[in-house]
Symmetry: C2
Subunit: 208 residues, 2 copies
């Protein structure tokens, strides 16, 4: 039912819409990563792609709408790294270690490798774009899932409420995955990259 509605809408907007959107996103990603997000206008972008500004506005309501898609793509890349790392291990403590390491490393890599594209992530985090809010929510859920697994298998304590403890673990991790705060903490993190996760794991150990 919903598939046929989507198909009908797609047909209404023209069959090539998806391709044009992809084309604009790819060109914008290349352009932003070269010239930066903040300094680029939709006019600059239109000129660079060879489309009219009006044509771009047919597909995206604003520069932020384009940025949102690019940001979502970047976050999806980080999440795909995280899930790949999680799949390699089974025990809950190892999964928590993998989560911490993969998420900080992937975020740092994005920051170091593609500093100009990173500007989009900063705008997204500062202005609380829906994509980053949803992303943080999913990481929070992942933390809770791992804690639940560890409690069920008896390797994590069960004397504290699951939601409160998950939130506390996320509060430890959050500054190190937020694109605005991470660059200011990367030096401290580099001093002892395993320190946070080991501290958290000790806090989760079953008490006597």
């Amino acid at each position: 039912m919903s598939t046929s509605i989507t198909a009908a809408l797609d047909a209404g907007r023209g069959p090539a819409e998806h391709d044009v959107r992809t084309q604009i996103i790819e060109a914008a990603t290349a352009h932003f990563s070269h010239f930066g997000y903040e300094k680029t206008t939709v006019s600059d972008l239109a000129k660079a792609i060879g489309f009219s500004k009006a044509y771009i506005y047919k597909f995206f309501a604003s520069k932020q709408a384009i940025g949102e898609v690019i940001c979502a793509n970047c976050l999806a890349q980080i999440e795909s790294d995280v899930h790949a790392a999680l799949e390699r291990v089974e025990a809950a403590p190892d999964r928590l270690r993998a989560l911490f390491t993969a998420i900080v490393d992937a975020s740092l890599r994005l920051f170091v490798q593609d500093r100009r594209l990173y500007e989009i992530a900063v705008a997204a985090a500062t202005d609380r774009w829906p994509s980053t809010q949803a992303y943080q929510g999913r990481i929070r859920d992942l933390v809770e899932l791992i804690l639940k697994q560890g409690r069920a298998s008896g390797v994590f304590e069960t004397s504290t409420p699951l939601d409160g403890t998950s939130r506390a673990v996320f509060q430890v991790l959050a500054p190190y995955l937020n694109p605005v705060t991470l660059p200011h903490l990367s030096g401290l993190y580099a001093e002892a990259p395993l320190a946070l996760q080991e501290l958290v794991l000790r806090s989760l150990a079953p008490q006597p």
Copy 2:
């Protein structure tokens, strides 16, 4: 010996030097907190105080030199709050709780109450002024001191190396006292202000 050297230097620069410096700092603090640090030049400041620019430069080499003193004063205010809170309790776990609460609350208060003055703290943290580096070092030392006390009195575990564990605890706390990162984390912190400290305390509990 060093006192007489200082006295001689002071005499050489004129006996009123200390007063003039204080006067400039007080006027600059008022001016910055009204118009912001970034947008104000030394010329603006000179005009506002009624001194010549050259006269101000006799006492401070740059705007940053003035900012450094104001920043050090703000940090001293936070530290004085922290030490007052620490003096009210004795047991190491309570002292750690007091440290976390007092330092985040005092930093948030400075941020919320005096957002324009806060710009100086942001410049200081971003450009790693010596005053903020020294401040962070002192907080780090305070963490280690409390951990040492707790280990000596048997309420904290002693199976991990003191310096590594102190560093890990500081890594948890640091994002919530850094003036650049704190505003981006204050919402998360407000959700559960005790979560971080309780997690850290569980991690420090003696293991069976």
